[in-house]
Amino acid sequence: MLEARGLVKDYRRTRAVDGIDVVVGAGQRVALLGPNGAGKTTTLLMILGVVAPDAGTIAICGIDLARHRSRAAECVGFAAGYLPLTERMRVREYLRMYGQLYGIEEPGPRIDEGMERFRITHLADAMGTELSSGQRTLIGIVRSTLHRPRLLVLDEPTASLDPDVALRVRQGLVEIAATDGTALLMTSHDMTDVEHVCERVLFLSNGRIVADGTPDAIAAQYGRGNLEGVFLQLAGDRESASTQQTDHP
């Protein structure tokens, strides 16, 4: 479904992503984890075709992203907790527009289905600016799944959500993967999300993948009880490395 090989990205003098491979099979649910600045969002943006890698190749559904971005994008959906809704549009109009951008001539039934899945049908006629951040996130996820993508990319899908809404998001994502066979690739700082939704975890640190496996296997590899322990250890290692660099230039 997704085959990204040897991805490298430099921003001025900083190497954000350092030669990583991200391969996700059909229906797999994969989390990309790591401390701030580990290279997660840059990796996602490269996979989405918005940032060009300095080296490496990306194929989505077997389509070379660099050469056929538009065709590859038809297979992908993307939602992020921080993205706003398009202004001056009602929710249904907004979803209709994005459905059409993905080539669905009459997206009405898909919109109804998606809104029912996340129990937000009552928001159909609301203006985007009238919604809470949690409601916007849910609508963003509905938008990203209208075309039934083969790969769903999510950046912090439950950031700033109430626990009950976060639960609804997690259940919805698992359902989408199960019923539509959609592969998930998501980042999150909430380890509960990851443990509930994902069957495989890629841990990034300083632009490199330092662990790849099931949540339990990775926790065991680092001698921790859960992913949060691994996360804290990696973040601590990174902080002490950066302190040493500052102390001994």
Binding site: V50, D54, V76, T86, E87, Q100, G103, I104, E105, R148
Partner: protein, 276 residues
């Protein structure tokens, strides 16, 4: 993914659907932002009143002078709005996405850059017709100036100016991609530089000598020279229209080249993070 609803459309059909979706999105922006309606109603009308009154004042002592001044000033400002409206519609259409942090939402979809530009330009045509229509009616109602009396020669001139407006906005979009929304001042500023240099209301011989060679390079100068020929009753000067068309084609090629390079730089340097 390949469900019936999607595969029913050919690639060209999907492309057209995406363009329509973008055009409709900008229709919502216009309808739901009353201040945006000023661009296509109030400001065009203000320009008609301003330049029409100026023409009436200049020509008070001489009836034929009044007719000529009306023709130069009113025809000039109406045709100037063809560039202005087409340029502003496309530039602010793109800026709207930047202001509302909507660029990432759009860039992850199958929407191609050319489809986006075409969709915004498509709705921009509606705004152009509204803006210029208001001016034509205003000029007729307030100053008895019938723009259509100049004949069909207006059409090739207007098309050339429309293309120049698009070329300028592609260049402005390239600048915004490269330098961020700080470059948006150019969306309006460019027009204020172009207006006097193009001889919209006067022959370029009236410009300071040092500026005349610059004016001659601009396609707009030749379009407005052709327009004054029409106002003077000399018929359409196809040589001037040809020069204007050639110049506008060169501008489009240069603007597209610049935009493609800026877009590549936008992706290479990860500038999308400015808008998330």
């Amino acid at each position: 993914m390949n469900t019936q609803a999607q595969t029913a459309l050919t690639p060209r059909g999907r492309s057209w659907l995406r363009m329509r979706a973008i055009a409709r999105r900008h229709a919502y922006v216009l309808v739901r932002s009353p201040h945006r309606l000023f661009d296509v109603t109030l400001w065009p009308l203000v320009d008609v009143v301003l330049f029409g009154s100026l023409a009436a004042f200049v020509g008070t002592s001489d009836a034929s002078g009044a007719a000529k001044a009306s023709g130069y000033l009113l025809a000039g400002i109406v045709l100037w709005h063809v560039i202005y409206q087409s340029q502003i519609a496309l530039s602010t259409g793109f800026l709207e996405e930047a202001w509302t942090r909507n660029l990432l939402n759009l860039m992850v979809t199958p929407l191609r850059e050319i489809e986006y530009v075409a969709g915004v330009a498509l709705f921009g045509m509606v705004k152009l017709v509204m803006g210029v229509g208001v001016m034509v009616i205003g000029a007729l109602a307030f100053f008895s100036f019938d723009a259509w009396s100049l004949g069909w020669g207006l059409i090739p001139i207007a098309i050339t100016l429309l293309v120049v407006g698009w070329a300028i906005s592609l260049f402005v979009i390239g600048l915004v991609l490269r330098f961020g929304t700080g470059a948006e001042a150019l969306a309006w500023g460019v027009m204020f530089v172009l207006l006097p240099l193009s001889g919209v209301f006067y022959p370029t011989e009236a410009l300071p000598t040092v500026m005349q060679p610059i004016a001659l390079v601009l396609p707009t100068t030749h379009a407005f020279t052709a327009l004054r020929g029409l106002v003077d009753g000399h018929g359409l000067d196809w040589a001037q229209v040809g020069l204007a068309a050639l110049g506008s084609a060169v501008m489009v090629v240069l603007a597209c080249w610049y935009l493609v390079h800026m877009l590549a730089m936008f992706r290479k340097r990860g500038y999308i993070t400015r808008y998330t």
